[in-house]
Symmetry: C2
Subunit: 473 residues, 2 copies
């Protein structure tokens, strides 16, 4: 890392008519037309940063003491434990997984301990009994630290996992059970903080203005990352670097705003699908993290005025080059309903040469002597070219290299893009009213007290018509 | 397994107006209106089965000798090797991965050898140098069997991997290198079969009429499955069971046809997104396999008459309950542009009780005494209910249990659904013309002889305009 940090780049040439044709592409006039709205969005984000549910904008700056505590705690964990298990779902799982995948060895858990230098890592973000039972088959409890993460302290999935694990720990360790578990939750509200106090569990706090999908840069993500040996100060520095770079009002220099503007225009034109396609296995789960951020923030029935709008672009996770052999046929020839965002990498952290040995077979021999690095870069360029030639809107984000600083930049970029896009759409990017119905129905189905009316409502559903149910026979 | 196999079920009540409302839902009249087209599609599939590129329909019936050879070979591999690595991409990777995830222990590679009872399993479906290098870090070559899979024998990604691995093997084992690798490819055409003969590599064949995305039930998928100890005869029996069940012309009894019909009507009404959402981690990669099948088969610019149609629904992979905390907000409140297909499981292969211990906290305590099995089932029912209440089209496929027979059924169901849907759309479901442009551009970028004109075309692209490229600073 030089003194001058290397920055990620955003290129939207292939959204413009000169590249993808007049019918699909944007003109400077189109960009100009949304500039007033973009300026409003910019000012909205500027005015609200650090307030309300926009506490996440300050995370790169206001966690000095927290970071110290996390690094201290992580060191102790690394000394005493050989596995670290996150119990969490949604925003409490996707960030830790994405950063792990990006910055640790790609076969981390299968490395011998001497090479691994950090505990094995597991994120349990489902309540499938087969999955929980499989995990318990391989864990050595004596050597495992659990980290239960839920802001509300009452997420059913996470608290179920907590109950199961805490019971196991208490049976084995009695009063010392709490030495095997750390809680990350709200400092005052919710059940988990109260349970943690009662059980004497070490706790980290999720700041009040930081919602689940914007929480990776608080202890939710920082503790697991530090346990894995990731340089969390660099991660935060990268985020700060991007945040400062995006304090300019002009879309010519604010890349998150420019990115939001291009997506906004695309959405107005019916592009209801946003494909995120990194050409790097290390960035595969960044797409998963982005999918929650984009879907849950922008997918809203009502705008802030209370008018029905039913907006939101559906994020699609793809991986280059892999999905060239799965999805690219559709992206190239199907409906004109997508924006494809490529994420490229200038320097991979390994170089692999393609060996010689196929001189008699020209359809294979041309590969010999090249590197996998050249192959993956050429395939990305070629796919961009093919999409562009077929008048398909696409954009490219480039990381000089995948490291803690550029990942910090990338995550802050996407969070800011989401904030700007939400403001342009005129919706509240920080709530999720649409999940309440399902939660309440779950409570009713499990017989929770107070949900009798909902249970009655469920029971009053029309019976299913057997004519629309088919069994193979 | 009883004598009478348990069959999967398909329920499309929640596509009907009685459940999701008149604006979004279908009526019997709507179904009746497409019946003539459905009958045509049914007859097209019936007439063409086993011919042309529909060889896959016969795989459950015509592989007796192949299966014998595969089981014999697999036994030998299981005795002598501790890792089995598939080198393949697209259809040569997604099926093997999906079946592994469905039918092996969910932490297979991390189990001790005594419990695992089969080699560790890796599918390398990308050319990211970091990934290849990570894999080589953990493999013990002496104990590793490779399986290179490509029908054409010239897939750049797979053949690059082959060159790298074969070079390693030859350096280590000289003339005996071929004892560490098996090729699965076309019996006559392409480079790999010729290379395999020259190098004396054991070979399995992909039948002529079986394309990549329809190849899981031929040696492409059967060899890896057998090596893992999966009962491949049951898998084929399940597929045969579904195939026979779908020989009826009536959508009231042919579930694959009914499924295709509901998706066809949805597509005609602008539902350009198909969400596949299993409530089981074991079925997570079935969504990936489905995503290729559906996207690459149906995403076509031209119909069989050569008219421009630009059709194709974009598959989206989701996982219940996990994605309730990521995507369901959008599915419930966003645009009316989706069909959500739930995949449920009647009996999970494990039961996990949620322990007691939170009597003081009602927001958690209601979970106590239930099982994770009840929780996941209730959450699926609740999410279905919430989507339906918000007038969102959804369907449900149910597996009595995840086992080789039901996975065989499920895969055949999706392949038949795809065949019917393709016929209804009037497109060729078996080609992929849209990927040629990208392949040729890759060849040109890597300097392959014969692609000089394409290279010139690439060089003639308009320069990128720096005004649309932003760097953080």
């Amino acid at each position: 890392m030089t003194n001058q940090p290397e920055s990620i780049r955003f290129d939207y040439n292939n959204m413009m008519s000169v590249y993808v044709g007049a019918k699909e592409g944007f003109t400077d006039k189109d960009l100009d037309a949304v500039k007033p709205l973009a300026a409003e969005a910019f000012n909205f984000v500027k005015k609200n940063r650090g307030t309300g549910m926009m506490g996440w904008t300050e995370l790169p700056y206001n966690q000095k003491d927290v970071v110290k505590d996390i690094i201290f705690t992580a060191k102790k964990i690394r000394r005493s434990f050989d596995a670290f298990v996150v119990l969490g779902i949604g925003g409490s799982a996707l960030g830790p997984m994405a950063v792990f995948q990006a910055l640790c060895h790609m076969r981390h858990n299968e490395l011998p301990k001497s090479k691994r230098k950090a505990p094995k890592f597991y994120v349990e973000d489902n309540v499938d009994p087969e999955r929980m039972s499989s995990l318990l088959d391989i864990l050595d409890l004596d050597k495992t630290m659990f980290n239960v993460i839920t802001k509300s302290g009452s997420t059913s999935e996470t608290m179920s996992q907590y109950l199961i694990i805490m019971d196991l720990l208490k049976r084995r360790y009695g009063d010392k059970a709490s030495e095997h578990i750390i809680a990350t939750t709200d400092a005052v509200s919710g059940s988990l903080i109260k349970i943690a106090k009662k059980e004497n569990i070490k706790t980290f706090y999720i700041p009040a203005g930081v919602g689940g999908r914007f929480s990776e840069l608080c202890p939710v993500g920082l503790l697991p990352a530090a346990v894995l040996g990731i340089d969390i100060k660099e991660l935060l520095k990268g985020a700060a670097f991007m945040d400062r770079a995006c304090r300019k009002a002009d879309i010519r220099s604010n890349m998150a705003l420019a990115s939001a503007v291009t997506q906004y225009i695309a959405m107005q034109r019916g592009k209801n699908i946003s494909v995120m396609m990194p050409y790097a296995d290390s960035l595969r789960l960044i797409s998963d993290w982005y999918a929650q951020l984009w879907a849950e923030s922008l997918g809203k029935a009502e705008n802030i005025k209370g008018e029905k709008v039913y907006v939101g672009q559906t994020p699609v996770k793809a991986l280059g080059v892999t999905d060239q052999h799965s999805q690219v046929q559709l992206y190239t020839e199907g409906p004109f309903d997508k924006v494809v965002t490529f994420i490229g990498v200038d320097r991979y952290r390994a170089e692999v040469k393609i060996s010689e040995g196929c001189e008699d077979f020209p359809s294979v021999n041309f590969l010999c002597g090249h590197t996998l690095n050249e192959l993956i870069a050429s395939e990305m360029a070629a796919t961009e070219y093919a999409l562009t030639k077929n008048n398909r809107l696409n954009r490219r984000i480039t990381l000089p290299e995948v490291n803690a600083h550029t990942i910090g930049q990338l995550m802050m970029f996407f969070m800011l893009e989401t904030a700007y896009a939400g403001a342009m759409l005129g919706i509240d990017a920080y709530n999720q009213p649409g999940v309440e119905e399902g939660k309440n129905a779950t409570y009713a189905l499990l017989g929770r007290a107070g949900y009798e009316a909902k249970a009655a409502e469920l029971n009053a559903r029309p019976e299913k018509n057997p004519k629309y149910i088919i069994e193979a026979q």
